[in-house]
């Protein structure tokens, strides 16, 4: 999914609602992220476009809240609770996702298979 900076991004997205799991003090999301505008996008193993500095799901804990919600490894996170995640630093994304007072996070994610499915259905 490539895009031109400054131009609107078109992507097929899936809504994913993750209910955080409370474990004592912690709220567990059950996945890991990588990327951000402050990280080297060339090392991102999930992105197609190696200049893409987006936030990617690098790991999904089996059986965790994220997996239950349908999140998959390699997903690119576009929004978190309505906040843009395509132009944020890694820490900003982390902060946005791990807010203690939010028991639910709603993600918009895009992945290759989604686009393919849509393209296939349109043909």
């Amino acid at each position: 999914m490539s895009f031109i900076p400054g131009q609107p991004v078109t992507a097929v997205v899936q809504r994913i609602e993750i209910r955080k799991l409370r474990q004592g003090e912690h709220l567990i999301l059950g996945f890991s992220i990588g990327g951000g505008i402050d990280q080297d996008p060339g090392q991102n193993p999930f992105s197609e476009d190696k200049a893409d500095k987006g936030i990617y799901v690098t790991r999904v804990t089996p059986g965790g809240p994220a997996e239950v919600a349908g999140l998959m490894m390699g997903d690119k996170v576009m929004q978190v609770n309505g906040w843009d995640m395509t132009m944020v630093t890694h820490d900003q994304a982390r902060k946005r996702l791990t807010k203690k007072n939010e028991e639910v996070v709603r993600l918009l994610v895009t992945r290759k298979s989604l686009e393919q499915a849509v393209r296939h259905s349109m043909m």
Partner: protein, 650 residues
């Protein structure tokens, strides 16, 4: 019949026959096969309807015709074979290899063909340099070119196939010899060129001009990193208002390794440090702009698990920039946090808790009182020793203070009575403007939302048990907040004893939760929300203080003033809860009791009028209001709406 059909094929040219088989024969063969496969025997098919004699005649004529045809085909085949031979030999002369297609009669030997190995070569006129001036270099170069060709020939000879071992070995040796000669010549030619001067255009001699390039690239990498620093700072703070590039970047650049991960980028406020280096930065910036686009170095691509709570591990600049870059986070909480900046109470809840205490008891609604409230906000700064732990569940010192403040504020009551309506009206307008739309989505995220409610008024009783039951279990109160807000505003009016449970169980977090709720879920434009919550709460409690004594229902419960004294003495929590439960049970049996109470309240504010007409009119009006507004409006909103509406009626 079969022998007949076989006869043309039984010729001695068995090998070539297939290639030159004329089309007609092929097709007949095919047809025959097809017929056989159809009927399982060709004989039956062909001898079917005819008599034996006619068949015999046909066979004789047929064989004759076939023989003639066979003869002519054979002649043609011979001609073609001759032609093929010629072509193959011609091809072999050109390529040096006899083609495998060459038609060989059995026992015939393939013709001898002169092999073409490529060992022959022409002398290069130019390199030999006939007629040109004979220099040492020229002669060496001519020799070199000749030797190159010789070497190439030897190599090809070496590669020739089908050679005896001895021949192959000798050729290999010759090839190596020639190669050695070539190298010697190349070396001597190279030396000669060097002597003749370095102006030789021949490639591969010098790459000196590239060296300075690398030197400059070192420089520009330095400047790039400077630019990188700047870019990072800007992106971190992501404030468009930063026009002048933060000059701390250049301060770092002169150091040998200004990696972005090492430099603690100072905040933009410390800018006046370095004015001269700003120019430096700009110059370096220009330099890098003139060169290629700066290769932005990123911190290595890492992943971070989201199962741990967020911690600011990174350098300070980043974390501070994070704060500033998120527009919605800052406006909400900072006022309180700023006031408490020095104290750093262990639990974030405490400021809000204190806020509620002071407000709900001093309960002012006039503008001056608002100011006083803000002052009271800052109070803890001078008394940082008051921690939340003592506040929660144990009415100790803070309770005392609370009571005191209440007493003082109660003295103002007559005055406030007049200003009361005005303030309510003000807050209601605020409600409608700022938070009516936003409160809805924020509420949807609350876990306690399962309770379906069409008319919030009727649902209110349903919320109560949930709340009162939940509360003891949730110390943190995260789960309790959905029903909290509505509850928070309502209970004191009916049941002061609830008030106690409310604070005792640490419901003081409620406003905090609300604030957090907004702060988290409603990114844009809710700066006034927090104020709203803070201001709204005291209003209701304050009114309840005034109204309770006149209320029919409440008369059997202690007044708020009494109640607060109770709290200071430490009324057991269980009593409160039980009372709450019983109260709730009563309410459940009378689902509309709330409406009535609201009506009563309305009636009571003006003074002494008959309750009924007011009740109906108010109720209808309120309901109309409710239905005109968004259907999914949460009870919180609804109740504030209710109250404000009521107040404006007054």
């Amino acid at each position: 019949m079969r022998s007949c059909s076989h006869s043309p094929l039984g010729i001695e040219h068995g090998i070539i026959k297939v290639d030159f088989l004329p089309p007609p024969l092929k097709t007949t063969d095919m047809e025959g096969k097809e017929e056989i496969s159809d009927t399982d025997s060709g004989i039956i098919l062909h001898s079917g309807p005819d008599s034996p004699t006619t068949v015999l005649k046909d066979v004789i004529t047929h064989t004759r015709a076939v023989k003639l045809k066979h003869q002519s085909l054979e002649d043609r085949l011979q001609l073609c074979l001759l032609e093929l031979r010629k072509l193959c030999i011609r091809e072999a002369e050109l390529t040096g290899r006899l083609s495998a297609d060459y038609p060989l009669l059995p026992g015939e030997k393939p013709p001898q063909i002169r092999k073409r190995i490529g060992a022959a070569f022409k002398l290069d006129e130019q390199s030999i340099g006939l007629g040109t001036k004979v220099s040492e270099l020229n002669s060496v170069e001519a020799e070199l070119s000749l030797q190159l060709q010789i070497f190439e020939a030897a190599r090809k000879l070496c590669n020739e196939e089908h050679l005896s071992k001895s021949v192959k070995r000798s050729r290999l040796q010759q090839c190596q010899r020639e190669e050695k000669k070539v190298k010697q010549l190349q070396e001597s030619a190279f030396q000669l060129r060097l002597q003749h001067g370095r102006s030789s255009p021949r490639p591969g001699c010098v790459n000196a001009p590239r060296v300075p390039d690398q030197g400059t690239s070192d420089n520009c990498s330095l400047s790039d990193s400077a630019v990188l620093d700047e870019v990072e700072v800007i992106s971190q703070s992501s404030q468009p208002s930063i026009e002048t590039p933060p000059p701390e970047g250049p301060a770092n650049t002169p150091q040998p390794l200004p990696g972005p991960s090492l430099t603690p980028g100072p905040s933009p406020h410390q800018s006046p440090l370095t004015t001269p280096t700003l120019e430096e930065l700009q110059s370096s910036f220009k330099v890098s702009l003139e060169l290629e686009p700066p290769p932005i170095e990123h911190s290595p691509w890492t992943e971070s698990s989201l199962d741990q709570p967020y911690q600011k591990i990174k350098r300070k600049s980043r974390s501070s920039s994070c704060k500033s870059s998120s527009p919605a986070v800052t406006p909400v909480l900072p006022p309180v946090e700023a006031c408490y900046g020095g104290t750093h109470l262990p639990v974030q809840v405490s400021p809000h808790l204190r806020l509620c205490h002071t407000q709900s008891n001093s309960a002012p609604s006039t503008p001056e009182m608002q100011i006083r409230r803000h002052l009271s906000l800052r109070l803890p700064k001078t008394e940082p020793s008051l921690s939340l732990d003592t506040d929660r569940g144990r009415p100790c010192v803070p309770r005392r203070r609370l009571v005191d403040s209440m007493v003082t504020s109660s003295g103002d009551l007559p005055v406030q009575r007049e200003a009361f309506g005005n303030h309510i009206y003000h807050s209601s307008s605020e409600t409608e403007d700022s938070s009516s739309e936003h409160s809805a989505p924020s509420y949807t995220s609350s876990p306690g939302r399962e309770v379906p409610c069409e008319s919030p008024r009727q649902c209110q009783p349903a919320y109560r048990p949930q709340h009162s039951i939940d509360k003891p279990h949730n110390n943190h109160g995260q789960l309790a907040y959905p029903s909290g807000p509505g509850f928070y505003l309502q209970p004191p009016q009916q049941h002061p004893s609830f008030h106690r449970g409310y604070y005792d169980d640490g419901v003081g977090y409620l406003p905090e939760d609300m604030a957090r709720l907004y702060h988290g879920l409603q990114p844009p434009c809710h700066s006034s929300r927090y104020d709203y919550w803070c201001e709204e709460a005291p209003v209701h409690t304050q009114r309840s203080v005034r109204l309770l004594p006149t209320h029919v229902r409440v008369s059997r419960a202690p007044s708020l003033r009494e109640y607060s004294h109770h709290t200071s003495r430490g009324l057991p929590r269980q009593v409160v809860n039980e009372e709450l439960k019983s109260w709730h049970q009563r309410n459940q049996f009378r689902p509309r009791s709330l409406d009535r109470q609201g009506a009563v309240r309305v009636r009571n504010i003006p003074g002494s009028e008959s309750p009924l007409p007011q009740h109906h009119s108010y109720h209808e009006q309120a309901q109309r209001q409710v239905f005109q507004r968004a259907a999914n409006m949460p009870p919180v909103q609804w109740f504030t709406e209710d109250d404000s509406e009521m107040a404006s009626q007054v």
